[in-house]
Every structure is written in structure tokens, then in C-alpha cells.
Symmetry: C2
Subunit: 263 residues, 2 copies
């Protein structure tokens, strides 16, 4: 069984990829909907919340965990890897590797939440692979809310205006590759692509899911479709319909409430 | 001493008004920055969080409390008034009274978070004063994030595009008065006013502060400037500079961290 968590529902983009890659596997997903978002909160608070969630997920006897949140991966991975005796994957390394492999101009952009950009983990990940690559990081705090509040049409004028505000400084930097360093961003990738034409977008969710699936192998697949159990820290009403935006055609069941601050 | 709380920093707009009206009074402010925002969370979760905060504030021996948050006022006031033996003021009643007194067309608009609009407390407040007033409520979930992420210039194209999206349905309804049902909204009132020219805006923060000051009297003023103590549930770094946006020229000190889920 694999545990997956995010500040809210954005991490379902990673779960969706994982289910496609490991269809026989069982998954338990936790979305911290009672405390979402993480991207404007401090690293200390994000570490505390992530540790509580990992304690909760560990109760299911998970064999591996995916921190499907750019902010929690940036802030909490070292702590979680030290405290929990299972492989803990984040969304940083695989995206950094994919970007380093993809760039021809050797100039890469990173977009994420305020805390993700401040912590600089994607940038360090890329530099550790190739110190010669130039990295420009931009915080796009409003993007997560545009996704959660439904401003997801590719031609949405509000989303396009926000994308123009955040991303226009990246034009002229020579980047040919951009890491979407927040698991919500693939949902508005069309607006991002329109603002930065010709730039290759790397989904950190997809890259992380592929890396986990590769490391974890397919040996655990038992033929039958695996199960997905979902938990949230706000009341679970509305989870199924809201979550489906992120899951495409993979059916998502009900979620159960958990008082996560007790863990 | 008066306790004031909000999901985050928006309630400082109400604290600012209170300090002007009761300059000799002592205040304790709690901003739930570790769990902000409330507006997209369920009523049950908002009631649970508000109760924890009132338990914390009660430890200071406060004589009265102001729930300086449209969502928490909409969801939690009956519970808090039942559970705590002090006057608990919210932002609903005073704004409803001000709107009912101001409207000439007897058509009033209300804007707030998704949960505030779903709960309908402002609408019920107006109708209880004058059932003949027609009320149109619109959820504007992105506004709180536009304020928190700094899209506060009166000519900001992102904020104007979002205001147009949310508020254009209100044009043609004949409203002449609009309640800003979230304590963040006064910060972007210029953009709101541009989208709805000629409509009188009622700040729920200001109305609530005036009502509390009137009820509470000035008898407690002891001549000297009162104190302001601030607490937050995220780490307090950055509180002072971020909070000052809401406080105008009233100086705001440091904040202290409190692990609010333990209350």
C-alpha cells in the first residue's frame, strides 16, 4: 500500500498518475483540506502538519509514501525521511532530473508557492545535477486559488491576467523548460503555456509518480484493480465532485474525516 | 479587555476601527494564520476552530469578544454565544442594520466567502429587520486571496477582472447598497466600487466595531493608550509587516505563536 498526501486536493494529480502506472496497487490518500493551503505558511508549520499526516498514514502499514505537494516536499522531506522508516518520495528530485535532461538552453524556470520558492529546493535539486544550469524561480501564490476556485478555463481572463503578471518576467530569460512546482498547476497548464509559448512544461506530479512507480516496481500488482481510500481534515462533503477535477476518468470514492491535529 | 479573532489578518481591519473608537482599551487579537482561510471550509470545521480560539482568548479574562470574520460569524456565533458567558459580537447584525437603514431601492447585495454565502446569515439578518428588502448574495472566494497576495492596487487588472466576473451579475439587480461580508474586502473596496459605480459599500468590520464600541461604552477607557497583544497559529515572522496593511497608522507589535489545536 502506498500513502499519498497533499495540503488539499492538488495531490490527486499525482495519485491519478500513480493509479495509471500501478493499477493493482492499494492507495491511501490524505488531503489536509481543513488547513489548506500550505504555500503561504511557514516551513515550521508545514513540517509539523506533514509529520502529523505521516503518523496517520503509517497506521495503515504503508510501504512507501509520496509527498504530493510542492510546499511540503520543499519543507518537510528531510524530516520525514529521518523520522519514518519507509521510502518517502517527494515531487522535487524527479522534476529536477526531468528539467535538467530536457533543457537545451541550460536555463530552467521554476514556479511554485511563496514558501516553495523561498526554500529553493527545486533550484538546489537542479544545481546538484548540473551546476551550470541557470535557474529562475518565481512565486505564483494566486495560482493554487485560481484552480481551487474554478478559474480553470484555458481562456479565463482572470487566470491569463495573473499568468501574465507572474510569468512575463520569465520571458527574455532564455528558459526553454519550466517546472510546475505545485501539484495544482497542471490544471491551468494551458494558460501557463499561452503566456510562455515554446517553453516545455514539466509536471512535478507526473515526474514524481513515474519515479515512485519505477522504484517501487510492478511486483506488488496483484492483477485486480487496487483500492483507493481517501481521508480529509475538513468535512468530506463535496470531496468526490471537487476531487474528480484532478482525477480525470479514474473514479474517486467518498472521503472520511480525520481530526489530524490529534496525530 | 476585548478579544478579537479572525481566520487570519483580515480581522485587523476591525481591530483598527476598535482601537480608534476605544483608544484606552486593552485588546488581545488571534489570527488563525496556520489554518487560514476559513471561507472555503465547512461550517462544522469553522465552528470547531472558532471554539478553540474562544477557549484560548477566554484565558485572558476578556470581557467581550468580536468575531471579526464573516465566515466565522456566519457559522459559529450561536455556538459561541451558548458556550461562553461573555458578550460575543459578530460582523453580521451591525452590517445588516446599516444596510437596511441605507438602502433606498430596498435592494441590497451581499458579497462574502463561499461558506458565508451558503449559510445566508447576512440575508437573514436583513430580512429580520425588514422582510420587504430584496437581497442578492454572491460568493467571491478569490477576493480574500487577492488581498493576501497583494493584488490591492485600485487599478490592478487581475483584481478588476475578478471583480467584473463576480460582480457584473449584480448590475441590473437595482441594488444601491452592498455589504462587504468579509473583513478582507475593505482593502480592495476601490476595485469593487469601480465595478459597481453608485452603489454604497458597507464595511462589516467597521459596522461591527462601531456596534461593539457603542454597547461596550467608553467607561473602561483609562486615559492612557491601551495595549494590543497578538497571537497567531503559524510562525509569527512577517506578521508585523503583513498586518500593518490592515492597521493603517496604528502601530502593531510582534505576534506570539500559539498551538491553537491544543485548546
Amino acid at each position: 500500500m502506498i500513502g499519498v498526501f497533499d495540503s488539499g486536493l492538488g495531490g490527486l494529480t499525482a495519485l491519478c498518475e500513480l493509479v495509471k502506472l500501478l493499477p493493482g496497487e492499494d492507495f491511501v490518500y490524505f488531503g489536509d483540506t481543513g488547513r489548506v493551503p500550505y504555500g503561504s505558511k511557514s516551513a515550521d508549520t508545514v513540517i509539523r502538519y506533514s509529520t502529523e499526516i505521516m503518523r496517520f498514514l503509517s497506521g495503515f502499514g504503508i510501504d512507501a509514501a509520496l509527498v504530493a505537494c510542492g510546499t511540503a516536499s520543499s519543507a518537510a522531506l528531510p524530516t520525514l525521511r529521518r523520522e519514518f522508516p519507509i521510502p518517502v518520495f517527494g515531487v522535487i528530485d524527479a522534476a529536477a532530473a526531468a528539467a535538467a535532461a530536457a533543457t537545451v538552453t541550460r536555463r530552467v524556470g521554476v514556479i511554485g508557492t511563496a514558501t516553495t520558492v523561498r526554500l529553493g529546493a527545486f533550484e538546489r535539486g537542479i544545481k546538484s545535477l548540473d551546476p551550470g544550469i541557470s535557474v529562475t524561480s518565481v512565486a505564483c501564490p494566486l495560482f493554487v486559488h485560481l484552480v481551487e476556485d474554478g478559474f480553470t478555463d484555458p481562456d479565463d481572463p482572470v487566470t491569463l491576467a495573473a499568468a501574465e503578471r507572474y510569468l512575463s518576467p520569465l520571458r527574455g530569460t532564455g528558459i526553454d523548460t519550466l517546472i510546475l512546482g505545485c501539484t495544482h498547476y497542471p490544471i491551468i497548464s494551458s494558460a501557463i503555456a499561452k503566456t510562455l509559448p515554446g517553453v516545455r512544461l514539466i509536471s512535478s506530479s507526473k515526474a514524481a509518480a513515474e519515479k515512485l512507480a519505477e522504484s517501487y516496481g510492478t511486483g506488488t500488482a496483484h492483477g485486480a484493480r487496487g483500492t483507493i481510500r481517501c481521508f480529509v481534515s475538513d468535512t468530506p462533503e463535496g470531496f468526490e465532485s471537487a476531487g474528480q477535477i484532478f482525477m480525470g476518468d479514474i473514479p474517486l470514492g467518498h472521503a472520511e474525516f480525520v481530526d489530524i491535529s490529534k496525530y
